[in-house]
Subunit: 126 residues, 2 copies
C-alpha cells in the first residue's frame, strides 16, 4: 500500500443470518482502528449481511479513497475465495480504474493465525 493518499482496509467476511455473527469482525475492526488511525477500516460481506463488498468500495470511491486493501476473513480457501471473490475483485477494478484495490491472502492462509489458535488450544486442554 502506498505511503500517500487516502487509504482503507475492508475486512471481508462471509456473513450470516444472525447479527451476532459479525461481533468478532467488529472487534478486529476496533483493534485495527486503534492501531492504524490514518486508515479507514470497514466491514463488508459476501452474503446474508450488509454492506456488500462492491457497495463498500463504491462509497469509498465516492469519498475519495485512493488505496483499498481487502482482507478476506475466511479460514479455508474454497469456492467463495476461488470463484466468487476473484469475480467481485475484477468487477470492482473495472468499475473504478482510478482506484488501487488489492487483496491480501485469506487470514486462514497465515501461519501466525494457526499458531495462535494452537497455543490457545494447548493452554485450554492442559
Amino acid at each position: 500500500m502506498s505511503s500517500t493518499g487516502k487509504k482503507a482496509i475492508v475486512l471481508f467476511g462471509h456473513g450470516a443470518r444472525d447479527p451476532q455473527w459479525a461481533e468478532p469482525m467488529k472487534r478486529l475492526q476496533s483493534i485495527l482502528t486503534a492501531q492504524l488511525p490514518d486508515v479507514q477500516i470497514e466491514l463488508a460481506f459476501l452474503e446474508l449481511m450488509a454492506p456488500s463488498l462492491p457497495d463498500t468500495v463504491d462509497c469509498m470511491a465516492l469519498g475519495g479513497t485512493e488505496y483499498i486493501q481487502v482482507v478476506p476473513i475466511f479460514f479455508g480457501k474454497g469456492g467463495h475465495l476461488k470463484n466468487d471473490f476473484p469475480v467481485i475483485m475484477a468487477e470492482m477494478k473495472q468499475k473504478h480504474p482510478g482506484l488501487s484495490i488489492e487483496a491480501t491472502a485469506a487470514v486462514g492462509q497465515w501461519d501466525a493465525v494457526w499458531q495462535a489458535i494452537a497455543t490457545e488450544i494447548v493452554q485450554q486442554v492442559q
Copy 2:
C-alpha cells in the same frame, strides 16, 4: 480435561465442497499433534465434508477414548454454533453417557486470535 485416560481433541469446522478448504485445519492438526503427542487430534465437519462430528465421536468411543474436547473452528457465532452445535453435542452425550465430551468456545471468541490477525494485517499494510 482430566489428567488421566485416553484423550482426544476434535477440530470441528464447517466444511466446504472444495477439498482444499480443509488444508488450514489439517495444518492446525499437525501443529497440535506435535505439541500434544499423547492426545489424538482429529478433524470433523458440520456439512459438505466427512467425517461428521457424531461419526468421529462414535469411532473414538469404540477406540476407548475417555475424554473428548471439541474445538469449533468458526469465526462468528451464528446459527451453526447457536442452534446446530448444541443439538449435536446433546445427542452425542446422550449416546455416549460414559464419555466426557466438552466443547471450548469457538476460536473466533478468543482475543488472541484476533490480535494475531490484527498484527499480521498491520504488518502487511505498512
